[in-house]
Amino acid sequence: MKSGKLIGLIVVCVFMISISFSFTADAKEFKFGQILAMTGSGSWYGMTMERGTGIAIEEINAAGGVKGYNFSYVVEDHKSGLTTPAQNAFRKLTSIDKVSAILSSFSAPTLSIMSMAEQKKIIVFNGGASSPKLMNIPFLHNTRMLGDEILPFTLKYLWDKGYRTMATIYANQTAPISLNDAGKKYWESLGGKVVSEQMHETGATDFTSEASVIKAKNPDIILCPSTGLDVGYVIKAVRKMGIKAPICGTEHSGDMEKVTGDASEGYLFASEFFDVNSDDPWTKTFVAAFKKKFNEDPDFYAANYYELTYILKELVTRVVDKGGDPYDGSLLEKAIWDNPKFKSIYGGYMKFKENGTCEKPVVLFEIKGGKPMVIKKRSG
């Protein structure tokens, strides 16, 4: 033991000392942290989110930074939803990189750092997860609307088209579970009937037996509020079983399209409206920059993190204008409430709400010809 622990301790100390010298924040730099899914099953999300942030930073720095501060970020990996790596990342970001703001994603990793964030007054933004558990937590702000607020929009549309029975299939995660409850309640309040409810394992890929059950119940519509690739596999399985009923949900991504292929045709989902073909000049420059760099259209996750970077820029501006230090997270937090309306990449403005969520324009999409097409809009 003696030898083992000694060697271990020496290793730790040497390495800690060496890094503490080499990694102190530059005074003229505003550095913030990101804790994203860089590896594991959700690594596609991490990639697209980081792309959004990266483009924003390039633009901001090209324009001379903010009040003399150059922007930069450090990305850490929560390995697609693991909490210990998220906590390690938090400790590293706050004590080595000395950040005061963190962009995070996924609900479990985000939740796992919030006790510490509150204590250390670090402002945390989540632009990915949409779990109701993320509401009403000090220092946490979500720039995604909660699905519960979005889902009725879709369901009403389908109700009006004359569909009456619904089957649901959703992942055993907090957000899908609450979405399923909300969707079910709303559908029943309209007078509809839920003929089958199935909860599935997160990350499963074979849903044909679940689809068989749905087929046997012959519902008018299918609700799948799962996230990630799960939705893609569900859609694929449902179509594979020859079920023609419309499928609706809350999630859509380019990666998911690769799973479904043609099967996603007709899939309906309501979401914050990010329109790549928008006439809004800001949106246009972002889409063009993204396309130039990555040779594909940005999705709304990229847009969310791009937007978040600009929100941070605005907050830093407000703090510095008042003579404050942007490395004080509580100042950033206060600065939000100076004016909770921020310019949005979605066009127009978005507004932070007291409960930690936000208001954004919502839109109902349908996949037509492999692309999401807007069929109904609701402004933020």
């Binding site: 099953s41 990639m47 199935q198 394992e201 499963a204 079983m241 690769k258 799973v259």
Partner: protein
């Protein structure tokens, strides 16, 4: 009844693929008694090799063959360069297992590094829905089942009727005697790793038609592979086939009695109970 038949059909389709995965791992484990955790990496590797060839505009069938070939080589290389030297040093099962895990982690990361985390679908395979009464499946399902069984039958024919097959069976049933009659077990081991990797490559191909490849697909395939083998019975390749079918059907039918979120758990619960009650597996011989 309609639902039951439909679920049974699904179970058989999944089960066929599981059976193929099972024999691919089983032939390696039965012969070499190596807990080949890196099998999952070979699975991912095979998927990506096939994909890479299709991206180079090689037609589907030649891509498949080239991809399988590289996967086979990779499997042999793992045995020859990683396990064999350790076995020579008579390393413990556990340290071989950890080496295999190292290969799995490093390999998976390497694929991520080269190809990124995106889902990569294998395109160009026609998929049509076929309905027979209440039972629905697709052309891909049909192809999967057929190919799985053709491959499994070929494997058994190979093991049963060729010199090499006989030697493999000999080494797996009595390695010591095999040495005494002049069989070089090291070469047989490499051969067996090649065959197992070829088979898992075929399984990977069949799943990639249906589900896009990502760097992480290997672990799930690996879990199924060895659960199938231990369920059916170690030392009996037929056991792996039976185990695969049972697992596939159980996974599909369980939905009729239990909430679906317990589906994955049921697989492990079955394994748990089998190891508890009949640790030698369904077809295995009693352990002394």
């Amino acid at each position: 009844m309609g639902l039951f038949l439909q679920l049974l059909t699904r179970g058989i389709i999944t089960g066929s693929l599981y059976a193929l995965l099972g024999v691919s791992w089983g032939i390696i484990y039965n012969t070499t008694r190596t807990f080949h955790f890196a099998h999952g990496f070979i699975y991912t590797f095979a998927s990506y090799s096939i994909l890479v060839f299709t991206w180079m505009s090689v037609p589907l069938i030649p891509s498949l063959l080239l991809g399988l070939f590289t996967a086979t080589l990779a499997g042999c290389a793992v045995e020859y360069f990683a396990y064999l030297p350790m076995r020579k040093k008579s390393a413990s099962q556990l340290s071989i297992f950890l080496t295999a895990m190292g290969i799995m982690i490093a390999g998976q990361s390497l694929i991520h590094l080269v190809f990124g985390p995106d889902s990569r679908p294998l395109e160009g395979f026609p998929e049509h829905v076929i309905s027979l009464g209440t039972v629905t499946f697709t052309t891909v399902d049909l192809f999967t089942v057929l190919l799985c069984w053709i491959v499994i039958v070929c494997l058994f024919a190979f093991l049963g009727h060729t010199k090499a097959g006989m030697m493999i069976r000999a080494v797996s049933s009595n390695p010591e005697k095999a040495t005494f009659i002049g069989i070089d077990s090291r070469r047989i081991f490499v051969l067996v790793f090649g065959i197992g990797s070829l088979l898992v490559g075929i399984a990977a191909f069949l799943s990639t038609i249906d589900k896009p490849a990502t760097p992480n697909i290997g672990l799930g395939a690996l879990l199924i592979s060895f659960i199938t083998v231990f369920l059916g019975g170690v030392g009996r390749l037929g056991g792996a086939v039976l185990g695969g079918i049972i697992l596939g059907i159980a996974e599909s039918l369980v939905i009729m009695v239990l909430p679906t979120e317990y589906k994955m758990m049921v697989i492990f619960l079955i394994l748990f109970l089998v190891v508890l009650i009949k640790p030698e597996g369904l077809l295995g011989k009693k352990i002394a």
